[in-house]
Amino acid sequence: MTGRHDDELFLRVHRLVTAQLDGDASQAEREELDSLVRESAAARRLFCDYMSETAQLRWRAGDVSSELLQDLLTEGTQPAWDMRVPLAAGILATLAVAAVLVIGLLPAILQPDSVQRTTTQTPPADRVSLGVATLTRLAGVQWTDEGESHSELSRLVQGDRLSFDAGEVEIVFDIGVDVVIRGPAQFEVRAIDRAYSGLGKITARVGKTGEGFVLETPAAKVVDLGTEFSVEVTATGSTDVAVFRGLVDLSVTGPHRGGSVEPRTPQRLRQGEALRVGMNGSFGRLMTISSDRFPSRAGDAAKGTAAPVIVDVRDNGDGDVKKFYRIVRAGLQEDSLAFVDRSHQWNGVDEVGIPEFLTGIEYVMPYNDDKFVERLEVCVDLGVPAVLYVFLSDDVPAPAWLTKDFVDTSVDIGLDETRTQYKPKHSTEDGPGRSVDTVFSVWRREVPEATTVTLGPIQAQRGRDGFNMYGIAAAPLTTGSVNEASASPGVSE
């Protein structure tokens, strides 16, 4: 909107649309709007922007759909969810159920005025400006005595605080950012694209529309650049930030500014990187993050086991390194991510899939870039007697530390590699035996007591690019976990 002509076009669109929405438009006005949209690209763009704004205003002022979702979730309308019948059940059955549902969900349209929803009444002033997020899930939440409680699908306005001692809350910000908070937590909604956490564990997924979302804590400010990340704010205010996908910018906001410690420059964290920000403004390394440390969305992978097999993983690397080892408690599955800093996936080498004895066991996502560290030592703390597995690429020779203590099971697992600078044409596919790029041999070692096992480096071949770090997995040691090769249908010759 830069000039008089633009204003005139806007007002013309406004006049035609308002008449139409009020039911007052003449046939000539409808034809004028049709012609405008059809013949002028500029008018069409302006119309789309105008209607987008109109829809947002209507949504904010009228709660167009919150009642729909509420109905779908409440016991009284349970058939709404149960209506997801197989398509084979027939179109007639589907239409019949759909008709019942639509009638049930459209009280404002189909029912008498006396039972119409509140949107037909005079709305409270200012309501149009306030709602910025929707609370979509509560799981075992115990609200604090002094805090306000909220119900599922309630709208959250700027300044709303969520204080709870236990349980999980999931919020969807209107710009599409999905946030799961695990208590004890103190969380404040500050704007449509901004929140504050004084305590708690948080996982955020930010899509394209939500880039720029800001999460502030007593010690740090996290600016999301399109990603999935987790944050833990401790009672002292120190803040751990881990990035599982995409990028975030991390800066220091704590009270160090007036103290003796110099403020640190902001850090950009990439996939597979994490840092701890202390209240004195210092950055520290987070060596290991288990998958059950942070909350996950409903429907995502299952939580961890009661007695972890892999307790901790650490290396002898430089203390400034940002990358972390991720222990995946939910277990190895088809298409499980293999490394924290790549999107490669583990898969069965053929359609039979990942060998049964490996399926569902705990595994570690190391950094693929560890393959370059010549004197690498990776220490794996096992919490119980276990079988420790190492997956070594057939592209590299077996190192002495591996052949000395481990046995090659003759079982293989595949790596489905995503695009890299060395393999620009690669892409991943779902499921076993599809798009497997590199075969890894599965090596095993029985560890009869809880202890620490130290693994060494891999031996890169000179002049060869595109090789991979090894994988690590572990299962509790049982009498049945001895002879994988004969037990598994996934053995390749």
């Binding site: 049709d34 704004e53 002022a61 404002a108 704007a191 409903a298």
Partner: protein
């Protein structure tokens, strides 16, 4: 995924994308009641077909495709003389959607910020005009003002809001 997990996932995805879907439908039909009805039908269809949705792909884009077919179905049963747009305009608007997706989130955020800059009186006017409580004439009656006066006020507020949004989007790009 259990049914409960499936429900929770669906609610989350729908909550994230429903207003964009609604915006798409309203743009196509320019009628409050019809847009509400098509949105409900679309939501029903989305849940029916949710087994076919591939996790990790763009739910909003999928939902808008479903909404598009619901709009076309609605047009077939609607009296042609009551339709605002002909086939050519509908196709042009559908094409426009592809480029609008990337800035939709920014536009929502900008609108939220710009609403805060409006006076309480102007926000109240927007609330009354877009809450579904009635027409401009009804709002004028409630406020004790003439229809023409309310219409002018609304026109001025909408233009001001739109300019504010555009300015914020330009600043964001700079």
């Amino acid at each position: 995924m259990s049914l409960d997990d499936s429900k929770a996932t669906f609610v989350r995805l729908l909550t994230q994308s429903e207003r964009r879907v609604y915006g798409y439908i309203l743009k196509m039909v320019v009628d409050w009641n019809d847009a509400d009805e098509i949105l409900q039908e679309t939501n029903v269809r989305l849940w029916e077909e949710f087994d076919r949705f591939q996790p990790g792909t763009d739910f909003a884009a999928w939902a808008i495709r479903v909404a598009h077919y619901q709009v076309l179905t609605w047009r077939k049963r609607r009296d042609r003389s009551r339709l605002v747009f002909g086939k050519a305009a509908i196709e042009a608007l559908a094409m426009e959607q592809a480029t609008a997706n990337t800035v939709e989130g920014s536009r929502q955020a900008a609108l939220a910020e710009c609403l805060k800059r409006l006076s309480a009186v102007n926000r109240d006017l927007l609330t009354r005009c877009y809450s579904g409580a009635g027409t401009i004439r009804d709002v004028a009656g409630t406020l004790g003002r003439s229809t023409e006066a309310v219409y002018k006020m609304l026109q001025r507020v909408r233009l001001s809001l739109h300019k504010c949004i555009e300015q914020r989007l330009v600043m964001e790009d700079a």
